[in-house]
């Protein structure tokens, strides 16, 4: 099976009727405003002031489009992601790469040559939102993650490193030695690379192997020109450079966060760019906030929940990270329960990343139906017996309720967690939950009486 590129996914969306092409020239300041007026993904074919460039956005702004990525039904996304991610396929190194067809080095470097979009009313500047950032640590090896970048000047961007991550850890180690952290930033990679970058893999795991597993084929990588790193060869654009050893001292943000909130000014390091490479006819990827980020988070959170349940010896039936929780903070799971496993399942789900609300139901509840969940919460929960609360767990800055500003610059916030066991309590017979069935429904037909 050949590994797909960013452009292949655009083609898949077009085949499915999910992308709208706009042929008229568009100012980069209007990209987000136009994309927000359609439910489809958008390919802007002409950008004012940027001849030869195109911009694609909102590629993953719905569960349907995520299902297209994974080539599965919409209710099988977590399971499909889990199956594909179980196999690791190491990347290949290639000599020639489309992403290096055009090269700007030294004084030629000009980030304003990229159609940096202004995305939201309260943003602190124009942003690159859909990045695939590669770094390396001498002990732990290669890491890939996704970090937003705010334009500062021709050579520099802000980079959001406020939250705990492997790359933040790598950066801290270099900062302690007073040295910069070299990174390479790919823009316009296939969604499998973006999903791998979102995945909370163990620190020694290689996200490129995970991406290969998702593709079912090795990711072709090319060596960067100015840093000792590799990037996906089929990327649209690559920025090479280093995160300066200045710590969390530069203003960055606000930015329209994946929490669906505008956010506030953060204090972050600065990324200095030493080389820009791109295709001859580059397509800039504008990751539409918050929806694309939320839909990218959901399968990753759901798959982590399934794994946590299995480690806890609980049998999951279905799982969902609702988009109302940004695909990140809430997990709802139905299980085939044995005595006590409602609570075991809650402990497992609350161990996933920064999940702060977990709800567990029996397998007769349709967790994709909010009314069914409400019914279970109403009749299977006693508040003094079926709630679990935890304090002092790892939190995330973008949640205002944890008062991250009190941490100071570079601080890491804590959060409380809540679990609700909405399974039938032990000792209550199941027949007491037998649903109403209408008499005669299968014997008579309404049409016969019209």
């Amino acid at each position: 099976m050949a590994k797909k590129a960013f452009r292949d996914f655009l083609h898949d969306l077009e085949t499915a009727g999910e992308i709208q092409r706009l042929a008229k020239a568009v100012d980069p300041r209007d990209l987000s405003g136009l994309a927000a007026q359609t439910d489809k993904a958008v390919l802007f074919e002409e950008i004012e002031g940027y001849p030869g460039w195109r911009v694609a956005t909102a590629l993953l702004s719905s569960r349907r489009r995520l299902a297209i990525v994974l080539d599965c039904a919409e209710d099988r996304i977590a399971q499909e992601f889990e199956t594909r991610s179980a196999r690791a396929i190491a990347p290949d190194i290639v000599g020639n790469a489309p992403c290096q067809e055009v090269v700007m080095e030294g004084d030629e470097v000009d980030l304003a040559a990229l159609p940096f979009p202004l995305m939201h009313v309260h943003d602190g500047g124009p942003y690159i939102s859909g990045t695939f950032v590669v770094s390396r640590d001498a002990e732990y090896g290669r890491n890939a993650g996704s970090y937003r970048m705010m334009y500062r000047n021709k050579r520099e961007t802000g980079i959001d490193l406020v939250s705990p991550s492997d790359m933040r850890f790598y950066y801290q180690r270099m900062l302690d030695r007073g040295e910069p952290l070299p990174i390479a930033v790919a823009v316009g990679v296939h969604p499998f690379e973006m999903l791998a970058a979102s995945y909370k893999a163990p620190i020694a795991a290689d996200e490129l192997e995970l991406a290969g597993g998702l593709h079912g084929a090795p990711v072709p990588m090319v060596k960067c020109r100015t840093v000792d790193l590799e990037v996906p060869a089929d990327s649209e654009i690559v920025l090479e450079g280093e995160i300066l050893p200045i710590g969390w001292t530069a203003d960055e943000g606000p930015f329209g966060e994946f929490s669906q909130i505008s956010g506030d000014v953060k204090w972050n390091p600065v990324f200095r760019v030493n080389c820009i490479t791109h295709r001859r006819d580059p397509i800039f990827y504008l990751l539409q906030m918050p929806w694309e980020n939320d839909w990218l988070s959901a399968p990753v959170t759901e798959a982590a929940g399934l794994q946590a349940l299995r480690v806890a010896s609980v049998e999951p039936v279905a799982i969902r990270a609702p988009v109302g929780s940004c695909g990140y903070w809430t997990l709802i799971a139905s299980i085939r329960k044995r005595p006590g496993e409602g609570k075991n399942a809650l402990l497992a789900l609350l161990s996933v990343a920064e999940v702060k609300l977990a709800i567990v139901t029996d397998d007769d509840i349709d967790i994709n139906n909010p009314d069914d969940i409400d019914w279970a919460l109403t009749f299977r929960v006693q508040a003094d017996q079926d709630l679990i609360t935890l304090s002092g767990a790892r939190g995330k800055h973008v949640d205002p309720s944890i008062r991250a500003w009190e941490m100071g610059q570079g601080g890491l916030p804590l959060t409380a967690k809540l679990g609700i066991d909405a399974t039938i309590p032990e000792g209550i017979p199941k027949w007491l939950y037998k649903r109403i069935e209408t008499y005669g429904k299968d014997r008579v037909r309404l049409e016969d009486y019209l």
Partner: protein, 72 residues
């Protein structure tokens, strides 16, 4: 500095502005030129932020206005 960067600097000494408000005042300027002008000002390292994320430059009216505005 370019004339555009000088203009932006003068504006931000007079009043604190969100980045988007600044962009709105310069819609006639090509985006790439605006980014260059903004970058020049950034490199001077004189920009400050107030509680609601607006940019301003200390030493003028803008600083007093920014100080009066507290996030609630």
């Amino acid at each position: 500095m370019s004339g555009l960067a000088d203009t932006i600097e003068a504006t931000l000494r007079e009043e604190p502005l969100q980045f988007a408000e600044l962009v709105d005042r310069h819609r006639a300027v090509a985006w790439r030129d605006f980014l260059h002008g903004w970058g020049e000002l950034r490199e001077k390292d004189i920009l400050k932020r107030d509680d609601i994320g607006r940019y301003y430059i200390p030493g003028g009216k803008a600083e007093a206005i920014a100080a009066e505005t507290r996030a609630v």
